[in-house]
């Protein structure tokens, strides 16, 4: 070691580090590669290949047949629409509701604010699973104004998949933290200039809330797109089901692995693309929510 120059030693350490980083990457990438590659192979070849490293190579009888078969089994377009619809509506609504509440907590003076805020923070520790069953009873007895007048019971609708998730304490808290750290002069100055409170919210505060807005939107996107238990409990009819519930169609006695892999790829690849495109925002949003939550 002593004969080595500092330069060579440094190079050795760096290349060791890269080797390690690449080996670890394999652990995280290979299952996903395996999923996509398998989705292109017929079942017989898929099962044969999984006995060797060929499992990771798209070769042989490669085709999109599994996708065609999977789309025949599952009304893919309908499910995709349902998921996109519920996700997008919940994302926009949660940004609006959470930011309005947080704005009120951060800038406005009203009685009971401190108490309400601490109650909201206390709800962090209630896991969704704890309330899932009573929530089912609640939504089953709520009224809704439909085309036939007032109906009771929200089961089997779009709104039962959206409304329970359009406000959440983590979202409020993340906005609140961000707003609280903004300089007070920002609000004071606009007030003196005669701006109304609503104008301060829409014209001054929200335009500079970009980073935290992305965080809340991304967290909501993940929750909504990956929703599984709740729609499983509340949705009966096929035309309202979201994309993850479609996986149930493949739990058959005679498992068609190629089709499953095709469907898994279809539901995962859009998320991965979205993630890779917004990678920095995604990771930073998790870092913020983790640190503060």
């Amino acid at each position: 070691m002593t004969t080595m120059t500092w330069e060579t030693r440094h190079r050795l350490i760096v290349s060791l580090r890269y080797t390690l980083l690449i080996l670890i990457s394999a652990i995280f990438i290979f299952p996903i590669v395996f999923m996509v590659v398998s989705s292109l192979k017929p079942d017989l070849q898929l099962l044969r290949d999984s006995g060797s490293l060929l499992a990771f190579l798209p070769y042989g009888d490669v085709s999109l047949n599994n996708y065609a078969d999977a789309f025949e089994r599952v009304p893919m377009a309908q499910f995709a629409f349902n998921s996109i619809f519920t996700t997008v509506v919940a994302m926009f609504a949660s940004i609006l509701l959470n930011s309005m509440a947080a704005f009120s907590f951060a800038f406005l003076r009203w009685r009971g604010k401190a108490l309400v805020l601490s109650l909201i923070i206390a709800t962090f520790i209630v896991p969704f699973e704890v309330i899932a069953i009573p929530l089912l009873l609640v939504v089953n007895s709520l009224p809704w104004i439909g085309p036939q007048g007032i109906e009771v019971g929200w089961l089997n609708t779009y709104h039962v998949q959206i409304l329970p998730f359009i406000a959440d304490s983590l979202g409020i808290f993340l906005f609140y933290q961000y707003f609280r750290d903004l300089p007070d002069e920002l609000v004071e100055a606009s007030r003196i200039d005669g701006a109304s409170i609503w104008q301060i919210y829409t014209r001054i505060i929200m335009p500079i809330a970009g980073p935290i807005l992305a965080t809340v939107a991304i967290l909501k996107f993940l929750v909504m797109w990956n929703a599984y238990i709740w729609p499983l409990m509340t949705i009966r009819s096929e035309e309202l089901r979201p994309i993850m519930v479609g996986l149930q169609y493949f739990f058959q006695l005679n498992t068609q692995w190629g089709e499953i892999m095709a469907y898994l790829s279809v539901v995962t690849i859009p998320v991965l693309i979205f993630y890779l495109a917004l990678q920095r925002a995604f990771i930073e949003s998790i870092a913020t929510s983790g640190i503060k939550g």
Partner: protein, 381 residues
Amino acid sequence: MIRAAETRKNAPLWVRLLVPKDAPLYQRNEAILGWLMAFPALLVLTIFLVIPFLMAFVMSFTNQRLVSPNPTEWVGLRNFERLLTVRLFTLEPERDEGGALVYDDDGSIAYPRLRNFTRKNPDYPELNGLREFTSWQSGENRTVILAADVVFLRALINTLIFAGVIAPLQGGLALLLALLLNQALPFINVFRAIYFAPVVVSMVVVSLLWRFIYDGQNGLLNTMLGIVTFGSFQPVDWLGNPYTAMPALIAMSAWQAVGFHMVIWLSGLQTIPTSLYEAAALDGAGAWQKFRYVTWPGLRNTAVLILIVIVIQAMGLFVQVDVMTRGGPLDATQSVVFQAVQRGYDKQDIAEGSAISVVLFIIVLAITIVNRYLTRDRDTS
């Protein structure tokens, strides 16, 4: 200016309720708007979070079912007693008239049958209806753990083991990854993105995918282990074997979520000032000493946070069990939430499902309180 003359006393009730005590009454607009802007979110949280949560508490003291011919009644703590009753019981061996031990045909000590004590035995009313959870030999006697609800007890213990193992495992691996990545080298962000990728993939998808990886016949894991050991590895049905099923779930869950906590460690690492490392280097500290005396003390807050977050997430173990094992084999992967959903939803026994939820909530609350205590302790020292 009539409003200026208005005092707190003669202002309308709603004004007094909304405007803070120490604020001038002319701020009523601000107070009203404040309430209005917070109201939609508060309404949603109340209907869909607070009310169901309170309902879970209330229903856990009743015998409510989703559909039942009988009216719902208060049953006090009965649901909790049924879930949590656990007793230690010592079986004494059978003896002949001379007081000598009786042996079975296979040479082991013979004991009276357990059901003699647990089936309406007037001498042992407290054991009525209990079933054997586990037992072991202690001297001549056999000690038996009896439980009213052996499946729930198994689920509770499994969940605690799951949380207890995955917290240090996943937290530790995440720290190792973060330390590897915490250096300004080219492409480091690419690796960070790769390690984080499974976090954005749904747990349902991950579970289905890993069902294939863990398969006993064609599974990828067996294949890989076979290649690494040059074919000497005997294939294991990872999810079908009671001894490997839970470790398999733990490994997969850690794979999926480790990137999440790696990112939290990374942002913790970035709060440690580089001047500290430079000072340590000047003092001749090696890599381990730098970690031990600079990095680790700077990460203690992050460490507590990460452990708590992992434990709380782990207590909610459900999707993996639901998709991969349905609690089997031999209840080896039963979990608290899986039992809550099975009973509350599948069997429509809402009272029992709620009672399980309340037990889970109390455990999570206890963990959070311990966390608060630990964090406060450090802040003052």
